[in-house]
């Protein structure tokens, strides 16, 4: 064999032939098939170094000729191949070009979502070559995950299994089966469990209890979410146990579900806490009441078992006592406050403003309201469950004068839980005076359900509001492109918002957008009020809008995929 011989030549070459006498002897003892050749080398007249190099050369060529291969069964067992796709791939040249354009930088995310949803609706899946860039996009942009999941097909599901970093792209099966519970991803199992909770909540709870011991912390947190569906008093023992779970996320989830059970022991305990902290003064023979609140003065050891988070971040705006107050508030059902203090949410917020603890209370209320809305919905809506939050809480929080100071990602979820009619009413008033701001809120609110994992509620926009908002946008942009603008901040706000809005508007509104006149070339010496630099930034907006409209129309024009009678359709 050549390899062992090369291995034995190598040390001689490294150390040097002048220090190694054994070269010739080595060459004389080479087994077949190189015996003759090497023996001839052994007796060559040149010096040892030259002979060694020559032998190495022969062996090197032999290695090239015979080497490089391994046996296929030396590799570990191959994973199963992808299953056949029932849906055909959208692989026609023109359609692939359209899909490629979705990957461009200038495309609004909302358009990407709509386009991929249309592809799914029309019965297509992504061509295989486009799966990696689309999956990378979904990894980067959580709001696209449901749309990409709907068009990735069996090939996409298989690919995600092969590349661990993509597994966090959740993809929920539309109709989960036992198979999904047995072998599916975390998201698939959650979908199955939620489904079962709808049909038979007790059986689902038992199933979860049986699995709990064998799940890792992250998986427990994933599946406990399912208990939000079909919650009842029968779930209380499990939730109390989860209050003491090792994982912080699990404890928080349990603590957010328990307030929905007003008769639970946790709710009773919280009521007890508040009765110690809230004090009412009666005056005028009970007609006028003044409430006072005093946060706890010392840490209570019982809090740990009740899932309060006692690790206040060092630079948090709240002080230590404020933090405790906030923690207690965030775990309390929103319904508690109007019942206990006989005030509407708006009055409660006004009251909190008069105390020293406004920030802690507002923050706690906001989180409790969001948790209740996300878990049980809004009272009076068709999908509301026990523990649903009163819509007036949402309105009061959105309306309060502190709200503009809150970051968008904390305000948008509140707005997205409002029933459509209430949302529309809030916006309708402001379209005339603050169209750009309303447009920004609309865009974020339409997309929020995608981030929350409720894709079926994305993009809900009242048609009349859409029409008036679109008209306002067209008016303001026409002025802008003509070189007139009222307010620099608003002009800049349209830059990002307008293309995103165009993707959410009903198709009927698009004609007006297409008719927008192109920006006039601006003479730097002209007396127009728009500054030159602002115009420079606004000018490309026109192109971007036209491209967005064109792409929307192109995707709406996609044909419906032919349904193949054969099931094998790779």
């Amino acid at each position: 064999m050549t390899e062992p011989l090369m291995d034995r030549l190598l040390p001689i070459a490294l150390v040097g032939t002048e220090r190694s006498p054994g070269l010739r002897a080595l060459l004389r003892e080479v087994p077949a098939p190189l015996t003759g050749l090497m023996q001839a080398l052994a007796t060559a007249p040149e010096d040892d170094a030259t002979v060694l190099l020559r032998a190495a050369g022969v062996l090197a060529v032999a290695q090239r000729v015979g080497g490089g291969l391994a046996a296929a069964d030396a590799l570990p067992e191959a994973p199963a191949p992808a299953r056949s796709d029932a849906r055909p791939a959208l692989s026609a040249e023109a359609h692939q070009a359209l899909l490629q354009r979705l990957l461009g930088e200038d495309v609004p995310d909302s358009l990407r979502h709509e386009a991929l949803s249309l592809v799914a609706q029309r019965g297509w899946r992504l061509p295989a070559a486009l799966l990696p860039p689309m999956l990378a996009l979904a990894l980067r942009l959580p709001m696209l995950r449901s749309a990409v999941g709907a068009v990735m097909g069996e090939r996409g599901r298989w690919l995600v299994q092969q590349q661990p970093r993509w597994r966090s792209i959740v993809e929920r099966p539309a109709e989960p089966t036992e198979e999904d519970w047995a072998h599916g991803s975390g998201a698939a199992r959650l979908a199955f469990l939620k489904d079962e909770r709808r049909r038979d909540p007790d059986a689902a709870r038992e199933r979860l209890i049986a699995e709990l011991a064998s799940l890792a912390a992250r998986e427990r947190a994933e599946l406990v979410e399912a208990l939000a569906v079909g919650l009842s008093a029968a779930d209380e023992p499990l939730l109390v146990k989860l209050l003491r779970d090792r994982a912080g996320d699990v404890r928080t989830l349990a603590a957010q579900l328990l307030p929905r059970l007003p008769d639970s022991e946790q709710s009773a305990w919280l009521a007890g806490q508040w009765s110690a902290l809230l004090r009412v003064e009666s005056a005028w023979l009970g007609l006028k009441k003044r409430w006072h609140v005093e946060p706890p003065t010392a840490e209570d050891p019982a809090w740990k078992t009740r899932a309060l988070d006692l690790q206040r971040p060092r630079h948090d705006g709240l002080g230590e006592r404020g933090w405790w107050l906030y923690q207690l508030a965030r775990l309390t059902a929103p319904a508690f406050w109007p019942a206990h203090m006989a005030m509407t949410p708006t009055e409660l917020i006004d009251w909190a403003r008069g105390t020293d603890w406004k920030d802690a209370l507002l923050r706690g209320w906001r989180e409790a309201v969001l948790a209740a809305a996300g878990s049980a919905g809004v009272a009076g809506e068709p999908d509301a469950q026990p523990g649903a939050v009163d819509a007036r809480w949402l309105l009061a929080l959105l309306d309060c004068r502190e709200a503009p100071g809150w970051p968008a990602h904390e305000v948008t979820p509140l707005r997205s839980h409002l029933p459509l009619a209430a949302r529309t009413a809030l916006w309708r008033e402001r379209v005339g005076s603050a169209a750009a701001d309303v447009a920004g809120e609309v865009v974020r609110t339409c997309a929020q359900p995608l981030i929350d994992g409720r894709p079926e509620q994305a993009g809900q926009l009242d048609p009349a509001l859409a029409a008036s908002l679109s008209a306002a946008m067209v008016r303001e942009l026409t002025d802008l492109f003509a070189g007139r603008h009222a307010d620099e901040r608003r002009a800049l706000a349209w830059l990002d918002t307008a293309p995103e809005l165009v993707a959410w508007l009903p198709l009927a509104c698009l004609t007006a957008v297409e008719a927008l006149p192109a920006p006039a070339a601006l003479d730097p010496n002209a007396s127009a009020t728009t500054s030159y630099w602002l115009h420079h930034r606004i000018a490309p907006l026109h192109d971007r809008l036209q491209q967005t409209v064109a792409l929307r129309r192109a995707f709406h024009a996609l044909p419906v995929a032919a349904v193949s009678s054969s099931t094998d359709f790779r």
Partner: protein, 466 residues
Amino acid sequence: MTTTATVLTTEAVLALAPDDASAKAARGLLAPAKWPTLGHDAAAAWGECQGSGSKPYQTQVDLSGPVFKCSCPSRKFPCKHGLALLLLRAQDTSRFTTPAEPPEWVRAWLEGRRERAEKQEQKQQKQQEAVLVAASAPTASGDPAAAPIPDTTPTARQDKRWQRIDAGLEELARWLADRVRRGLAVQTRESAGEWQTMAARMVDAQAGALAGWLNAAAAESDSAALLARLGRLQLLIEAVQRRATLDAGVLADVRATLGWPLDRDEVLARGEAVDDVWRVDGQIVEEREQRLVERRVWLSGRRSGRRALLLDFSHGTTGFETSWITGQARAGRLVFFPSAAPLRALSVQREAVPESGDGEAPVLAGWDDELDRAAAAMAAHAWLPLWPLRLAGAAIRVVEDDVWACGDGHALPLNVPVEQVPTLLALAGGGLVDLHGEWDGRTLLLLTLRSEDGLWQIGRIEGGAR
């Protein structure tokens, strides 16, 4: 002709782009408003592109190449307008009109090309006739039917070059022996500099390719690989010493390895001409040092089964005048460089129309046959850099950081850019695919992958020494 010329796919067009910037720029030119005129017929496609100036650019493509021409000032082949024109055609042929006669500026260019091609063919005919005439003169053995003996009388310049090479290699041999005598592991302060000096010496000695060998050896961290490389260098030195006794093919390989291949006229005169239908199995454009760009196009002959390599060079982002489309087959003539394992060839004639059914998978031999062929070539030519492998029914396996091609019981290590692995897996889906790549004795650099779901090509890479 009323047959419609093949419409290239978007992928194929983008593969012709000389660099990423051109591809991106071409994509930006796809708006219909920019092309007031678009037309095509069986021979050519053309259009007028409205730029920022007053007069639109006139762009046209001879579809038999494809060969591009544009009135824009860019010096790239093809320019962004040519690429955009073909991209538009790939996406929607309905935008192209087919008038009875193409515009004058298209007709004139195509006419000019046809005339030049005819003149070229006549010139080659004359050259070949001259060779045959010389060969039919009575040979030393008096047998007029003996194969024409190529003119190998060395010129004075060749003699001078051999002298320089001999002197340089004599120094190299002494230096190598010295290193091995003292021990390769012994590093002195001068060691690194000595490799560079010796590499420069090879350039002086007109054996410039050996500078690359020495630089690669100096960079080698694996000592077994280093010894293997030096061993083959030793074989080359000794072959040069014995060149008078070598076969013509082996001598040609020695010269090629030294960096002194035969020039075009010598190859045309002495090389083996093969007429066949040649299919493009794969191609790669590699950026080398100092903005030198090398393109390798791999062909296989349908009837002869021969493999061929076309090697072209350009500079910077200029691109290449002649385009080859992977998967296309065309009848034509190749002339092979003399070699003990003939591979590199010149394309001297190529049909205007590709064979129908291009893109179909050809009938491929089994893995053992294919690997045996590669082995035979590497045994015949000790310094053969690359040999093409076409492998059917391969399974792509990713095991930790390594990628393998498995089939017929074998597992071949694949060299694949890491960011392309997901795309390859997506196209394969765990099923079987057809591969084409360059084998260097250790790994297969993947150039083409074909599955039921599409075709993948490596395109353009920034290369290094192999």
